[in-house]
Amino acid sequence: MADNTSRSSERRTDIETDGGVETDGGTVDYLDARVNIFKPSTPFMRDHLKIVWTMFAAWVLIVFGPVTATYLAPDLMTSITVLGFPLHYLLTATGAPLGALVLSFIYARKRDQLDEKYGIDHSTPKTTSDSGAVASDGGSEQ
């Protein structure tokens, strides 16, 4: 049975959230922090959700933007030609999937940086997660 002593003991003290009001002084018990996607209750959730929502907005634009533009201005979108493609076709067929891929990569990078900021280490050795783990593999090259 894995003991979960890693909580609070090695929580870093440098979690200054930007402008957060209720910062719990760096010792958060996440099991007591309410979960509501619109009301993040801890500095970590606030930071995380900020990334999530920003990226989600970008995704909506990339995915539904071209088709909506084509609906609103069909002549313009179909008459512009880029690389032989009508613009609407290029943005939909190539732009959206590639855009989502790039956004995914950026998100995973940002989330790794967030882990680093909060001193989270995922290199859990097997089952017994001891508390001596240090955030050593913040790298994201894989």
Partner: protein, 547 residues
């Protein structure tokens, strides 16, 4: 468009027994069986979640192979060729949805860490009824989705082995079921990486060869096909000619939320080492998927042009049939006069794609039956051996039903698969999303929401496919708002509203459940074999005073 009667023989395809392709495909199938046998499993942890030992790239490939079914390999190009700009809604829906899955669900699912998707529903909402609805939906999804795969395998099999459609469907399904009943999830996961390599190599090799020999492209067909578009019939690029803007958005939306609700996709996150692996393997998975999805429109463009030049009109009454569209990837290679063994390779890739996905779906369905229905509801003392037997029986039974249905499928491969997505998007996605992101979502809300979702979907399918006549759907207005392939656009918000509304007027879920949800969002690392529930029950000491 889903009402066009399907003729089941692709006329332009050279259907006859071909010795070299037959050896290639047989060899490939033997390889799958061999890998499945080498990694055969005897305990349920391995059968369902591969011992939670899978790494980044391997899981990424498994996500890719699991994902890229006959619908991607064959159906995508078919939809683009046959329905033009509307087909791109499928490209978008089946690729960009992974981003939503990544930012909202992948890591949290891994932290929740149970065995199956219905497990999540049952445990999160603390209800065996919810678990049962989740399990039945999983089985239904597996069924609808696999019918498309069986159709794809059957059509491609005709090219390789000749024979008729019926024989091929039966033969291919028998092989799939046999291999699955032997190997289970670990074998299937090991196989998926191999299957991904085969299918992507075959697809890209086919695309490059067709593009190069026909003078369409040199090194980047994914971009170079643009130059060809202006010479194709205007149906290929013209927006909203065969379908409305609403249908386009509805389809894309349904496929996106369906991606986030598909049990066989979500279970891939239970198989990885850690939540960080869950995230990065999603990125890898999307990368592998994009390789194919950026290429499929190019293949469709090449195929359409070759068809127009060699066979006849693509669009209109005597145009390309649905069956021809569904094998356009193989057809294009054949029309480009590539050597027979090479066309066989492209065909083999299609079969690999269909088998990999059917495997994933059947495992999700069999674990739903064995683990969620049998063990959790019917016989709580079930031994592992009993569970394995039930799981295998489910695989065999499901295989038989899918085979029978696939003999006379009601739609194109891609459309059939899209139906499964709108079901997942309506019934399971709202439960996963609210279950993970709103701790007050409760049992009554989940039951009401899932029932609503099931009703909307069933009504759409009956209205548009089963009871529809040649004149069209039974209730045209309903089909306009809830088209069967895109019912989630209008339906999912309704399911959300019902779930939230009912949750608000009933009691809040117990504190223990709330703590499990919170654990899913905590940044603290967890042990490899731990689930959120383990952590919560381990720490149930004094509830630390709420600030």
């Amino acid at each position: 468009m889903m009402l066009t009667p399907l003729d089941l023989l692709p006329d332009a395809l050279n259907a006859s027994f071909k010795i070299v392709p037959a050896i290639m495909v047989t060899g490939m199938l033997l390889l799958f069986l061999g890998i499945g046998y080498a990694f055969r499993v005897a305990d349920t942890d391995d059968l369902w979640v591969a011992g939670r030992s899978i790494g980044n790239v391997e899981n990424g490939m498994a996500i890719g192979a699991n994902w890229m079914s006959a619908a991607s390999y064959l159906g995508m190009a078919a939809l683009i060729a046959l329905s033009g700009y509307y087909g791109l809604a499928f490209v978008i829906g089946w690729s960009t949805g992974y981003f939503v899955l990544l930012i909202f669900m992948a890591a949290q699912m891994r932290r929740f860490g149970k065995y199956t998707a219905p497990d999540f529903v049952g445990d999160r909402f603390n209800s065996d009824t919810a678990r049962a609805i989740g399990a039945l939906t999983t089985i239904l999804i597996g069924f609808v989705y696999s019918v498309g795969q069986a159709r794809g395998m059957g059509l491609v099999g005709i090219y390789v082995f000749g024979g008729d459609y019926t024989t091929m469907v039966v033969l291919m399904m028998a092989i799939t079921v046999g291999y699955l009943a032997l190997s289970g999830m670990l074998g299937a996961t090991k196989n998926m990486a191999v299957q991904y390599v085969i299918l992507i190599v075959a697809f890209l090799a086919g695309l490059y060869a067709v593009g190069f020999t026909q003078g369409y492209s040199t090194f980047a067909p994914q971009i170079e096909y643009g130059a060809l578009l202006s010479s194709l019939s205007s149906e290929f690029t013209e927006p909203f000619s065969s379908s409305s803007y609403y249908l386009w958005i509805a389809t894309a939306f349904s496929l996106i939320v369906g991606t986030c609700g598909l049990p066989h996709v979500l279970v891939r996150f239970y198989t990885v080492e850690s939540e960080r692996t869950a995230r990065w393997s999603t990125v890898w998975g999307l990368f592998f998927i994009c390789l194919l999805y950026l290429s499929a429109p190019a293949f469709a463009a090449f195929g359409t042009d070759l068809y127009a030049n060699n066979v006849g009109q693509v669009y209109g009454a005597n145009g390309m049939s649905g069956a021809e569209g569904d094998v356009i990837v193989v057809l294009a290679s054949q029309l480009a006069n590539l050597p027979t063994w090479f066309v066989g390779l492209v065909a083999a890739g299609g079969i690999a794609a269909a088998i990999a996905t059917t495997a994933g779906l059947f495992i999700a369905a069999s674990s739903a039956a064995a683990h969620d229905i049998y063990t959790n509801i019917i016989n709580p003392d079930a031994t592992q051996r009993q569970q394995l037997i039930i799981g295998r029986l489910t695989i065999i039974a499901l295989g038989a039903i899918v085979t029978v249905t696939a003999l006379n499928p009601p739609a194109l491969v891609g459309e059939l698969v899209a139906l499964a997505f709108s079901l997942a998007g309506l019934v399971l996605f709202p439960m996963f999303f609210l279950g993970l992101w709103w701790e007050n979502a409760n049992r009554e809300g989940a039951l009401a929401g899932m029932t609503t979702g099931l009703l909307i979907w069933t009504a759409a399918v009956f209205n548009e496919l089963i009871f529809a006549t040649d004149a069209g759907p039974v209730v045209p207005l309903y089909a306009d708002i809830f088209p069967a392939v895109g019912a989630a656009l209008a339906g999912t918000p309704i399911v959300f509203a019902v779930t939230i509304g009912v949750s608000l007027v009933t009691d809040e879920p117990p504190e223990r459940i709330k703590r499990i949800v919170r654990q899913c969002h905590s940044p603290e690392p967890m042990g490899q074999q731990q689930s959120a529930e383990d952590v919560v029950s381990a720490s149930n000491g004094p509830v630390s005073g709420d600030d």
